[in-house]
Symmetry: C2
Subunit: 410 residues, 2 copies
């Protein structure tokens, strides 16, 4: 079982508020493994491997590691490189040149696919190495695992931000559309529903990419909610589209501006609502802040990110390879979990969508099952009150009018 040599870890894909916890946990766990002689960090993921841009993580001082474990974004740098066959050959050259016997790669389904390719090549080759994937994605769209490290904190930010802009929209009595990350999966957007503590709190309507809605139904629901609450907050995934091709023109506009990157659905919905309801409608795109706003750190999320980093090293040391660490939820209150594993192939390049039964019938919100799933992941420890913002309203004892109604001159 004992495999002596060096270990290498890399961060990949979009950063998260907790991905650094996984790196630090792996370093700390590796210190307890005598077979791991050196622990290297690849700068900018596979880019760093290909270019031999690596740093010695055992030489980092404990104070620095402690600080980095709480720092958002990817302290080693990240990369979106998808390896080609020649890249994979080069990876093994680097592994051999630096006696890398343990490889840990932190990322989403793209990164687990890269891990899988490397793992397959290792099986065919002459280089014994243990390869373990560490899950990370704010999108929460990895298969098998209960949830993904990175999601809880991003979801907490999205929910808190939606709660805050809801207060702002309520003060004006107008319409607000919040655009949340999620090209295919509506996990983050669905999580904003947890911000709704009372019936009249926003978000009143929640739209995810998994379910297509008719524009007529959307307008009908929006009008009804606005009439009922005196304001309206809509949360929508960037990947949402109507059943008909209503949003296609918006996508065209976005292409022209944004180089085929997503974004624009909130603006389109806001314009549509303003026109149809005759009420001023504004929009906010939560944008990149969703994956780095460390002030909304989720406690469970950080614990998970630390645990998967630690577990990856322990399992590799014990002989496991070609697996990704997963989270198995054990209880909701208090939230507890254990780490398990799944094959890299079972998660590589696959996307876990919000199940149909967790989206309500009308397609304009999520169910209680979704809320029960997500709520334990949104708890925080840093801010008084813990989880999501919630504030009282005035009881509002109305003064009786004494004058005839005022007819304001135009």
């Amino acid at each position: 079982m004992a495999l002596k040599g060096n270990a290498l870890i890399g961060q990949s894909g979009g950063p998260s508020p907790v991905i650094n916890a996984s790196v630090v946990a792996a370093v700390e766990a590796a210190r307890q493994v005598p077979e791991i002689e050196n622990f290297y960090g690849a700068l900018h993921g596979l880019d760093g491997v290909l270019n031999e841009a690596m740093i010695d993580l055992f030489r980092e001082d404990p104070e620095t590691l402690k600080g980095i474990a709480r720092a958002p974004s990817a302290a080693l740098g990240t990369s979106r490189l998808k390896p080609k066959p020649a890249d994979l050959e080069r990876v093994f050259e680097v592994f051999k040149a630096h006696n890398i016997r343990y490889f840990f790669y932190i990322g989403g389904n793209d990164s687990q696919l890269a891990c899988h390719h490397i793992s397959e090549l290792a099986k065919q080759g002459d280089w014994e190495i243990r390869i373990v994937g560490i899950p990370k994605t704010i999108d929460n769209d990895l298969m098998v695992t209960d949830n993904c490290p990175g999601f809880g904190s991003a979801a907490r930010y999205a929910a808190a931000a939606t709660a805050f802009v809801s207060k702002d929209a309520e003060a004006f009595g107008n319409i607000e559309v919040v655009e949340i990350m999620g090209r295919y999966a509506g996990w983050l957007t669905g999580a904003t529903a947890a911000a709704r503590r009372e019936e009249r709190d926003g978000p009143h309507l929640v739209y995810v990419p998994e379910f297509k809605v008719d524009p007529e139904n959307f307008l009908e629901d929006a009008r009804a909610a606005f009439d009922e609450y005196g304001y309206l907050v809509v949360a929508v995934s960037e990947g949402f589209a109507f059943s008909e091709a209503e949003l296609a023109t918006v996508s065209d506009k976005v292409d022209e501006f944004g180089h085929k990157r997503l974004g624009g659905v909130a603006q389109a919905l806001a314009e549509m609502l303003e026109k149809e309801l005759g009420v001023r409608a504004r929009f906010d795109r939560l944008g990149n802040l969703q994956r780095c706003f460390q002030y909304c750190l989720s406690r469970a999320d950080w614990q998970e990110a630390y645990a998967v980093g630690q577990d990856a090293v322990r399992r590799a040391a014990a002989g496991e390879t070609d697996v990704m660490i997963t989270i198995q939820r054990k209880s909701n209150d208090p939230f507890t979990f254990e780490c398990e594993t799944t094959s890299l192939l079972s998660v590589a390049d696959k996307t876990k969508l919000v199940p149909r039964e967790w989206i309500n019938e009308r397609g304009n919100g999520v169910t209680q099952e979704f809320l029960d799933y997500v709520t334990p992941l949104l708890e925080g420890e840093d801010i008084p009150g813990g989880g999501l913002p919630h504030y009282p309203r005035f009881q509002g004892h109305r003064i009786e009018a004494k004058l005839p109604p005022y007819d304001r001159p135009k």
Copy 2:
């Protein structure tokens, strides 16, 4: 001096994370004033006055008031109504019908202008009333006062958000442009410079509306910063424009999309940078979150908002009228201040810009004086570490390369 009757308070213009503290402070101070028999709150500012939509604030229970004092946005509702002459007549009808002898209006320069008009009419009329303006604006653009309640918290959010997205941009080694509120005044945008604790931290370049920059200089500075730090973060006010009409086309686009509302400069700069520097550039608009993100509450800001509400009532009770409460800074460390007053006319409809000498010579940053001014306003108590995010980087002991450089196949 004693003027017996009812008091009325209203909130006006864009909400802030602390405007409710001013309302609650006024209610609590009014309870100590025997001449104030009832204390009403106008729903949605002057709209509520015109339509007699008012609530009895003395009947709110202390628990609710306590919660609302910490709630972002405007708990009474707000309004952007600019009163016409007929409206002012109506205001006095309502004052008389409800025996309003004290009127407090919380808002920015527009709202203080409305106050001034009401005050002028009162002087000519037969209704004795004391009118005191309470300052509020996240833009920090009111004359006379050292700073404006609402600014500190919004600035803290803007600075923290910029620090966070800087970490994200650094992980990718790309370009990020952050768009911050401020049509004419760059106070909020300048405050993001406080997020830069080390030379290589973002934001590397800061552009305010007060100073026009040549596009060539902008690109030159951007290229130099990117080359030096390996990534680039630009903070820009929504009202910024180049010396030439370079941004006019963008404004046209924005008009077409956004109904002549501001926004679009960050996208324009990001596109320009991506094209000219050949590096992926992204942008984030901090949007409405700037005025409601209560998790970034500034301690000084909340204290100021409470103090101006309290002081307004005390001064009105003592006979003062036709004034707005101001903040006089007494010391920076610890930050202390006193409340003073200024005439409504001295602030009505005027805008305080960032002085030229607080913007650096090149127009791409703020000076130490600006930072000394703004930093005490950014301290918070709710989040460990207090003020702005700051995290260590890896010391980065590089591993020596052992292979020839890799020439990646296209």
